[in-house]
């Protein structure tokens, strides 16, 4: 049996590319995503400007290094994605555990909230709210986080429903444990691994959402780059310099696909653990 299965191997490869892009590239000498050079604008991939500087991925409309722009944009996206996942995981797990453990009216309220959340189109909601409170990286991360807890909440509640009847929790109850104790000591540790799987799936979704909003101009604001924004800017130059729009799309694809495969690989692992 190979040590890695296919989805694990794919995940590792794709994420390795991302690590190189957003962690290694910024460490390289000469990294400067803001340096403009109007004379060397719109260079193609592998092009050189008149001073003989080499640009692996070419330059954009203001002559900024595409590689460096992509790296910075990746950092911004990853940061937004991570914070949003953390916010939504926290909210979702908390509400899900409470709903599943206490049942009754509390559960009805929480699950009603979840249904309500799902019934409002998320993009419309985000557009409306950003239009009011104004776009910024922090706002974006918070908003994305606040609106994507439902997946965590549902899974956490489902697991809690079955775990709370398991004998190890019953026996803790007969020993005088409080609800807080059961949730902290038994439910949370058993639910969290599953939450990380949901998280790695949701991470990709959030990055796409962030890109869409930035594409619409409601996300990250210039001069900070974002892949979505880069696509939208590059659109105008599709004929002249197609790499401006294509490169950020590819980067987006690699990151999202990487996390999809990662969550798949996690799921397999967990299944194996359950079978064993």
């Amino acid at each position: 049996m190979p040590k890695f299965n296919l989805s694990q191997a794919t995940a590792v490869t794709l994420l390795a590319i991302m690590v190189v892009l957003i962690i290694i590239v910024p460490l390289l000498p000469g990294y400067d995503p803001y340096k403009q050079d109007l004379g060397g604008a719109l260079l193609p991939m592998g092009g050189e400007n008149f001073r003989g500087d080499f640009y692996l991925l070419g330059t954009d409309t203001l002559g900024r290094d595409m590689l460096d722009r992509l790296a910075l944009a990746g950092q911004v996206s990853a940061l937004i994605g991570l914070s949003a996942v953390m916010v939504s995981l926290f909210i979702g797990v908390t509400l899900g555990l409470i709903a599943g453990y206490f049942r009754g009216p509390v559960e009805n309220v929480i699950m009603g909230l979840a249904d309500l959340q799902l019934s409002i189109p998320r993009v419309l909601l985000l557009i409306a709210v950003t239009a009011i409170i104004g776009p910024s990286v922090t706002n974006l991360a918070l908003l994305l986080g606040l609106t994507s807890w439902v997946a965590y909440g549902r899974v956490a509640r489902g697991m809690t429903l079955s775990l709370r009847e398991r004998e190890f929790i019953l026996s803790a109850r007969t020993q005088g444990s409080t609800a807080t104790w059961n949730i902290r000591k038994h439910l949370l540790p058993n639910v969290l691994p599953q939450m990380l799987i949901v998280g790695s799936y949701e991470f990709g979704m959030i990055i796409v959402m962030e890109a869409s909003l930035s594409y619409l101009g409601l996300g990250v604001q210039p001069p900070l780059p974002s892949w979505g924004m880069m696509v939208s800017e590059g659109q105008n130059y599709l004929a002249l310099a197609p790499h401006l729009a294509i490169l950020p799309s590819i980067a987006l694809f690699i990151l999202v696909a990487g996390f999809q495969f990662l969550s798949q690989a996690f799921t397999r692992e967990n299944e194996l653990e359950l079978v064993a």
Partner: protein, 685 residues
């Protein structure tokens, strides 16, 4: 070999199945594991061969090999399997498929997973009929299906024909599975734990059906089970397997009286007895070896009371060799087994009157349950809410240091009783007094403090320990909750149940079922409780491990003066461990008394039926069995009057009107809820 006393009374020398020198390996990335080694046996026409073994013995695997259904990592590495003289090990998958169902068929343990939930029963049996009779017309198929349903004793076969599996009880589903297996009158029927998932009264019915269909068709049967009593009663010959090897083969009727292999003798000595009290169970030390790391020489030597460290046992693998009429045994010292067994029997025999030890002046009861009630609201139709009486008027008293056994089949309310007493479910009525104080009136923090005197051990050793915690932390949990943790106390508790402090550093998945149950017991003892509720606490364990845990429980009780409520479906175990016993049926206690009173002279027909349903090797066929007919009634719509009357062989007109009280009536020395109780000397035939 004589086959005079086959259950069918017929004699035949025509071989149906011959397995010779069969070995099966598991091929995994970690290496090759020998799962089954050099198994040989034969089954003749009309004959029943019982294969007995604990988990991991390879008994099911052997028969899967016969059926050609081994999984992808499993390989037959040597040996031959002949079905009516025809070698089947080298047949292709398609050829095997033709044999399965036609020449041989199987009945598995769990009818629920065997049947397709979305297909009507008639259709499923019809498919089996058609598979091997493609030219049958629709009507012919249907007629045959009805005939089969009648054959397996299905009431209302025409109506049942178009129902779905979920409309059937467990016992009825197993009948359907048997009908499918018998659809083409196979020569060989393989029954793999066919009744393990069923209640004992239903088990008796299903075993009868199996015997009847076999009598009709003359099929041979291989009965695979962990239950020695079941094979002893239902088989002609028994093969005992252990760790992938055959230990012994003997006539079924003789196995209990004259086991020749030390393992068989050990197993028998570790079984609690139904008809008399024994002082202490023998327990086979240690546990079943890891098959990837077999002991040298005789696989059984690390646990063997006879061989132990003797050089031949350590060095040389004993071969299965003839040992008298119809017997084969794989042991270097099998002549010594008889003497060892006699000695065990002497040791086990209970000194007279141990049961009366608690009869002295009655002290105040430690635990009292008073008129416990529990009703569940069950949504019936769209608007209607129905009430389910899970517990009705359950009362008992228990002295400190004694054990109350609560017995009954599934659905009788015994587990609800445990949960209500533990306040994991709120009672609908009644009260529990613990040390004279009302337990049910505690609320919040005072309830949490009061709980520590009433602890519990559950059935499932897998779900009762949090898989993500270390053993030390698991046992420390009650101490931490109540603020009295010390590492020494945890180690002391581990020692109580025979585990070392090192065990505390590992996690539950590294332990076997028996060890996990010990850990659960240690955790339950952490708070020095007065009462321990044992809810089917030994039911999931293999026989040899079960005896270890029972002995542990008895020792702990004597040492710590514990009071037990021992809930179980296993009457033999209850008899062994209890002082008092309560028999439950449909949420009511229908008979209660001292254990010897109830077991030796049952007053309620249900208790008598339960006792009679338990397989016994030495059943006197002349005495007719007392059987509970049919299935448990729908608990939502229990019958009027006596709740047992739909199944009671003694039911009369008067039983319809009145729900009998639990009182002692004329001719009985203990209370029962029957208007016409059986009396000690007038047990009707």
């Amino acid at each position: 070999m004589t086959l005079e006393d086959t259950p069918t009374g017929q004699n035949s020398d025509v071989m149906v199945l011959q397995v010779e020198n069969l070995s099966i390996d598991a091929v995994t990335p970690k290496g090759v594991t020998h799962l089954v080694q050099n198994i040989s046996f034969e089954v003749r026409e009309n004959e029943v061969l019982g294969i007995v073994g604990e988990s991991g013995s390879g008994k099911s695997l052997t028969m899967l090999a016969v059926l050609g259904l081994l999984g992808p990592n499993l390989k037959i590495v040597s040996g031959s399997i002949r079905l009516r003289g025809r070698e089947v090990t080298d047949l292709s998958f398609e050829e095997m498929q033709k044999l399965r169902g036609k020449a041989m068929s199987i009945v598995f343990q769990d009818p629920l997973t065997t049947l397709n939930p979305v297909l009507r029963i008639g259709k499923q049996i019809g498919e089996a009929v058609q598979l091997h009779n493609p030219d049958y017309s629709k009507d012919q198929v249907k007629a045959r299906v009805i005939e089969l349903l009648t054959l397996v004793g299905m009431p209302n076969p025409e109506k049942r024909y178009s129902q779905f599996p979920n409309e059937f009880s467990g016992g009825m589903r197993q009948r359907v599975v048997i009908a499918i297996a018998m659809a083409n009158e196979p020569d060989l029927l393989i029954a793999d734990e066919p009744t393990t998932a069923l209640d004992v009264t239903i088990q008796a019915q299903v075993m009868n059906v199996l015997a009847e269909v076999r009598e009709r068709t003359g099929a041979a049967m291989v009965l695979i089970t962990h239950d020695l009593g079941l094979v002893a009663e239902n088989a002609d010959r028994i093969a005992v397997m252990y760790a992938g090897r055959m230990m012994e083969e003997a006539p079924a009727k003789e196995i209990f009286e004259r086991p020749t292999h030390p393992y068989t003798a050990g197993l028998i000595a570790s079984l609690p007895q139904l008809d008399h009290r024994v002082e202490e169970l023998y327990s086979i030390p240690g546990f079943v070896p890891d098959l990837s790391n077999r002991p040298s020489g005789c696989v059984f030597h690390p646990r063997c009371a006879i061989g132990g460290k003797r050089p031949p046992c350590l060095e040389k693998r004993p071969e299965l060799a003839p040992a008298g009429e119809g017997r084969r045994v794989a042991c270097h010292f099998h002549e010594e087994t008889a003497a060892w067994r006699d000695e065990q029997m002497r040791k086990m025999a209970a000194p007279e009157n141990t049961a009366v030890a608690h009869d002295g002046p009655r002290k105040n009861a430690l635990l009292i349950a008073e008129n416990l009630e529990k009703t569940f609201d069950v949504r019936g139709g769209l608007w209607s809410k129905q009430k389910l009486h899970a517990l009705k008027d359950v009362s008992f008293e228990l002295q400190a240091g004694t054990t109350l056994g609560v017995v009954g089949e599934s659905g009788c309310g015994k587990s609800t009783l445990a949960k209500v007493m533990l306040r994991l479910l709120e009672a609908s009525g009644g009260e529990v007094y613990l040390n004279g104080k009302k337990f049910f009136s505690h609320r919040g923090p005072s309830l949490r403090r009061a709980r520590k005197n009433l602890q519990v051990v559950f059935q499932d050793p897998y779900s009762s320990l949090d898989p993500r915690m270390k053993i030390h932390e698991i046992i420390a949990e009650p101490l931490r909750i109540n603020g009295g943790y010390s590492a020494d106390r945890v180690n002391e508790l581990l020692a109580h149940v025979g585990l070392t402090p090192e065990a505390g550093l590992r996690r539950p998945p590294e332990f076997s079922g028996g060890q996990r149950q010990r850990i659960a017991i240690a955790r339950a003892l952490a708070l020095n409780p007065d009462v321990l509720i044992l809810d089917e606490a030994v039911s999931a364990l293999d026989v040899s491990i079960q005896a270890q845990v029972i002995n542990l429980l008895k020792d702990l009780q004597a040492e710590l003066n514990l009071t037990y409520v021992f809930i179980s479906h296993d009457l033999s175990v209850v008899r062994h461990i209890s002082d008092e016993v309560a028999v439950m049926y449909l949420g009511r206690v229908i008979e209660a008394g001292k254990v010897d009173q109830v077991f030796d002279a049952p007053a309620h027909p249900y208790t008598k039926a339960l006792l009679d349903a338990i397989p016994k090797p030495d059943r006197d066929e002349a005495v007719e069995r007392f059987t509970a007919e049919g299935d448990l009634p729908d608990p939502m719509r229990p019958p009027t009057g006596c709740k047992f009357r739909t199944r009671c062989p003694l039911a009369r007109e008067a039983c319809k009107g009145e729900d009998p009280e639990l009182i002692a009536r004329d001719g009985t020395d203990h209370p029962s809820a029957c208007l016409f109780p059986l009396t000690r000397d007038a047990v009707p035939a």
